[in-house]
């Protein structure tokens, strides 16, 4: 029986490392294998995005199956934007049958932000309802509407949270609601504003939520000052403070990647010391090859045996 490595690592009390792998805009499975093998041994599990930002890419489910073949522990990202409850539940069963053991439930970026602007947004369920549905399928063997499954899916169930989203005062309550809906692990939006994230974590601890869910802090290494400004100005729900911009600006163009790595490593080290944070989730956008460097420099290599 295949088990979730992510779950085992977290349950054993280790500081977990996950990384994101964006599937290609094409049908070549080698791209996935290559990305997977870059990450192998340096991370516990690999998230595969589901048509992120509404741009059509090789399917998350297929890419996860390929990663599984390569011996990795994939995290299937599943958005409710593109599939109704029939397709979602069917893919949950299919994922489990393919040996995928982790699922991340999201609503997904709005279709108008992607390359299929005329697409009909489905949103039959939202992320909370998907969480609840998957938990009910796994724990009780019941699908929506009450029909029984003849074999339950085996999935470790996660959700996302953006500590920097609006309305600010509601973010912790929203996290609590995701836990109530069934989230067992949380991967957060990219953290550049550590002070604000620490405040968020204080509220999380005050409500005792850190003992109810595993929280993995999001890390995206910056490649350039242009990327930093783009993240600040054009990516929804992102908080890139002035000091990060100043640091990236303060070095010549050819050293900016190095500075981006430095910031990311410092952030990972800070998160390791932050009570209630159980790991990091590295989203190196089209820069997966930097992940081993980050993991090593942050002192998170080798990964534990579990």
């Amino acid at each position: 029986m295949i088990e979730s490595r992510l779950k085992k690592v977290l349950a054993a009390g280790h500081f977990a490392v996950t990384a994101e792998c964006g599937p290609p805009k094409g049908a070549d499975p080698e791209v996935i294998r290559k990305k997977g093998n870059l990450l192998k041994g340096f991370v516990d599990s690999v998230n595969v995005t589901d048509n992120q930002t509404g741009v059509v890419r090789l399917s998350s489910l297929a890419a996860c199956a390929i990663l599984r073949e390569e011996g990795l522990d994939p995290v299937l990202q599943m958005v409710t934007r593109d599939r109704n409850r029939i397709a979602l539940q069917s893919d949950v069963l299919g994922a489990s049958a393919l040996g995928i053991r982790n699922i991340l439930c999201l609503s997904g970026d709005h279709q108008s932000l992607g390359n299929q602007k005329g697409a009909k947004g489905v949103f039959d369920l939202d992320s909370m309802q998907l969480l609840q549905t998957v938990r009910q399928m796994r724990d009780k063997g019941i699908m929506l509407g009450g029909d029984r499954l003849n074999a339950n899916p085996a999935l470790f169930v996660g959700a996302v949270e953006n500590p920097f989203g609006d309305p600010q005062g509601y973010r912790v309550a929203r996290l609590a609601k995701k836990i109530r809906a069934g989230a067992e692990f949380i991967q957060t939006q990219c953290i550049y504003n550590l002070a604000r994230f620490s405040e968020f974590m204080t509220q999380v601890r005050d409500r005792g939520l850190d003992s109810k869910v595993f929280i993995l802090g999001g890390i995206t290494p910056l490649k350039s000052i242009r990327m930093a400004e783009f993240m600040r100005d054009s990516v929804a729900g992102m908080d890139v403070p002035d000091e990060i911009i100043a640091r990236m600006k303060g070095v010549p163009a050819k050293e900016q990647r190095q500075e981006g790595i430095k910031i990311a490593v410092e952030t990972i080290r800070a998160l390791k010391e932050l009570k209630g944070v159980h790991g990091v989730h590295i989203m190196a956008i089209e820069w997966e090859e930097v992940v081993p460097t980050l993991v090593e420099e942050a002192g998170l290599s080798p990964r534990p045996d579990v």
Partner: protein, 223 residues
């Protein structure tokens, strides 16, 4: 009310091009209120058609009529005597108006001149905002009287996504985040705790379960 916007003239002109005798039919209710298909707009479109035909040295016969309600058969009766004299009806009614006329006028081609958009409120003169998608299962009281199906771009039932900034939607910075409004109103009325419960999946069968919805009220039928 139902809101609509007039189609671009080029599109209307192209659709009417095969016809010489055009009956322009407006509606005096919702689409008049939102200045898309009332008497004034009918007159304007008719003049545009005449002017345009004149420029092209084409002779056309355009007649203007505005019904009190294009979606009620009794009001459509008024144009029965005219229909035979025209090649096409150009409707400035909403989608219900066009289809009601098609129901009772089986032999004439009807061209819509409007794009019907929504069930909306008038926010100020010249500004109408969509409020309702007619889901058939109103739960507004649970959402601080702000409809998340209509006013959240993703139609989320359980709180805001991570994409709003400064109370505005990620999809369009001019659109307020519906969930920001819901939470603020819940907070102000001391009902925020009601948001803790996970709202179950909607029953879309009430919207699209068995094709178009029909209300039959025996008590309202004429004996």
């Amino acid at each position: 009310m139902i809101t609509a916007e007039r189609k671009p003239f080029a599109e209307i002109k192209a659709a009417c091009a095969p016809y010489r005798r055009i009956l322009v039919v407006g509606c005096g209710t919702c689409v008049a209120e939102c200045a898309a298909g009332g008497e004034k707009e009918v007159a304007l479109l008719a003049s545009q058609l005449r002017l345009d035909a004149g420029k092209a040295r084409r002779t056309i016969d355009v007649k203007e009529v505005t019904l009190d309600r294009q979606c009620v058969y009794e009001f459509i009766d008024q144009i029965f005597p005219l229909v035979d004299q025209y090649d096409v009806i150009l409707s400035l009614g909403c989608g219900a108006g066009v289809q009601a006329m098609a129901e009772v006028l089986p032999k004439i081609h009807i061209v819509p001149a409007l794009n019907t958009t929504s069930i909306a409120e008038t926010m100020e003169q010249g500004v109408w905002r969509e409020d309702c998608r007619g889901c058939g299962d109103c739960k507004l009281d649970r959402f601080a009287d702000i409809c998340p199906i209509t006013r959240c771009a993703k139609g989320l039932f359980n709180g805001p996504c991570g994409g709003s900034k400064g109370g505005h939607c990620e999809v369009d910075p001019d659109v307020p985040c519906a969930w920001h409004l819901i939470i603020t109103r819940m907070e102000e009325t001391g009902r925020l705790d009601a948001m803790n419960e996970v709202e179950p999946p909607a029953d879309w069968a009430r919207t699209q379960g068995k094709g178009p919805r029909k209300i039959v009220r025996e008590d309202q039928k004429t004996p």
